[in-house]
Symmetry: C2
Subunit: 205 residues, 2 copies
Amino acid sequence: MIFSSALIENAVNEFARMPGIGKKTALRLVLHLLKQEPSQVQQFSEVIARMRQQIRFCQQCHNVSDEDICSICASHSRKKELVCVVENIRDVMAIENTQQYNGLYHVLGGIISPIDGIGPDQLNIHSLVERVQQQGITEVIMALSPTIEGDTTIYYLSKKLKELPVKITTIARGIAFGGELEYADEMTLARSITNRLPLESYMQK
Amino acid sequence: MIFSSALIENAVNEFARMPGIGKKTALRLVLHLLKQEPSQVQQFSEVIARMRQQIRFCQQCHNVSDEDICSICASHSRKKELVCVVENIRDVMAIENTQQYNGLYHVLGGIISPIDGIGPDQLNIHSLVERVQQQGITEVIMALSPTIEGDTTIYYLSKKLKELPVKITTIARGIAFGGELEYADEMTLARSITNRLPLESYMQK
């Protein structure tokens, strides 16, 4: 791509470094910004820079936060004895968007994956064990992806927590709502029959 | 979408204002930036702000430029007597990318479109007439989209320029390379037969 302006070329290159944004999309975004008032673009730029500079991570659950303790951990209306273990902050948002969960979270910051060189020491596992020991947590829900890495992480965590007086659960696996039975993989289908539910709990959806 | 951080929410909203970027994509971009070093995000932010503040428009052809006169107009190796009229700077880039055109440009900044309230006075038409009068331009190539608005603009410009000693041409309309004949619209197909080319010029592609 040939640019007649180094300013534009640099801006396109910066955008094109982001995931899922190629050069053509980057150019479209840059040309859009060119049409905006300088003050608006200034604001865009400042909001992004400020976000990265000022963001903090909750000292308790490691979720992103504007304060030392995030708004979820600080809330008085949430069940403090219930902790949901997730891989990253996107999963926190996904669960929050359901508006069905009323406990706290613990963000691992990844999952155990030897192939990517991620071991237990790089994850927020020590602080989870501490929380369970010190904060009267009665149930830990493992909300990790049903992959080999996710299952490995669940297995590792359950071993770490097994001496402690805490109930460990995992989110339900099964056929998704709207999913076609014939396209489900065998393992999911088999498990969904083994772990079948009484009709009442299905109707409560 | 529920955010546990106002910093992130603001950043997502800023990204989501851009064309083709919804809330989910915006969140993905913001989470990507969160993973970067603060210095990298600072650089991203500064490059964007600087681009908008410092960008200029060429005083001659109205293309984006880092100087008062753009690099295309300032180049000594380009044919100064040939001017290609385009709608916007994206069209300049598209033609430059072909690496086949060696003349100058004139960016109208839009096309005549009564339905969008854009008349000739809002476009860079006066400066085109001046250039043709003063700069010894011998040919003006109309490279506008083959729409009603594009054709209206071509018609208007050709009337404005008809007293001047300049040849007016338009880019060729016809079947695109790789295009299937049976799917071409009737007008394009009809014109492509009327304006058929000698075989030699076809083989030169």
